[in-house]
């Protein structure tokens, strides 16, 4: 189970990076970056997981073993902040495409144009 959980985090990261490297479209590239980022969520929550334990919320049940709340707090803010940073990246893509007449291929945008 350990190998599976952390293996999945590694596969997700490598899949995202593969997409970034082979991408022919900046929008596609940004989406692949989102996938690569999601591997950190899987890894962090995998580290904090405790078998046979409940969520670290005590409003409806008495205190028992719970999973690690620290990594969850890290992940939760990142999910929301990551979405706004994604919006910023997409805005950059929109501007780059505007300058290049609708082109979105990384290879076509190699040179700097004034």
């Amino acid at each position: 189970m350990t190998a599976l959980a952390f293996g999945v985090a590694a596969v997700v990261l490598l899949a995202g990076l593969y997409g970034v490297v082979t991408s022919r479209d900046y929008l596609h590239l940004v989406v692949c970056l989102v996938v690569a980022q999601s591997s950190t969520y899987v890894l962090l929550l995998g580290i904090g997981y405790r078998a046979h334990a409940t969520a670290p919320v005590f409003s409806d049940h008495p205190k028992g073993p719970v999973v690690d709340p620290v990594v969850q707090a890290l992940t939760l803010t990142d999910v929301v902040v990551g979405a706004t940073v994604l919006a910023l990246l997409l805005a950059l893509v929109v501007q780059a495409a505007k300058g290049a007449g609708g082109y979105c291929d990384p290879d076509a945008l190699n040179d700097l144009h004034g």
């Binding site: 997409g19 078998a51 999910v79 929301v80 994604l86 997409l90």
Partner: protein, 77 residues
């Protein structure tokens, strides 16, 4: 429980590969939404309801919407 976790973990890996290998951005946004939903289910199974809640709303609603809006702008529809 560990069977559910194992299934969801495998589904996450498959979902990530599906998003990356999808070359058409419009359909990629939809696959990404489904991937966000799988991640949300995985986080719920990992006893992280707080994270699951944000992932489902952000990953399967907000992110695909942003990508589609950017796509409309870039392609000029």
């Amino acid at each position: 429980m560990s069977v559910v976790l194992a299934v969801l973990l495998v589904a996450t890996a498959v979902g990530a590969i599906a998003v990356v290998t999808c070359r058409d951005v419009a359909s990629q946004a939809v696959v990404l939404g489904a991937y966000g939903f799988v991640l949300g289910a995985l986080f719920l199974a990992l006893s992280a309801p707080d994270v699951a809640l944000s992932e489902v709303v952000v990953g399967s609603v907000l992110t695909p919407l942003l990508i589609l809006l950017a796509l409309v702008k870039v392609r000029g529809r």
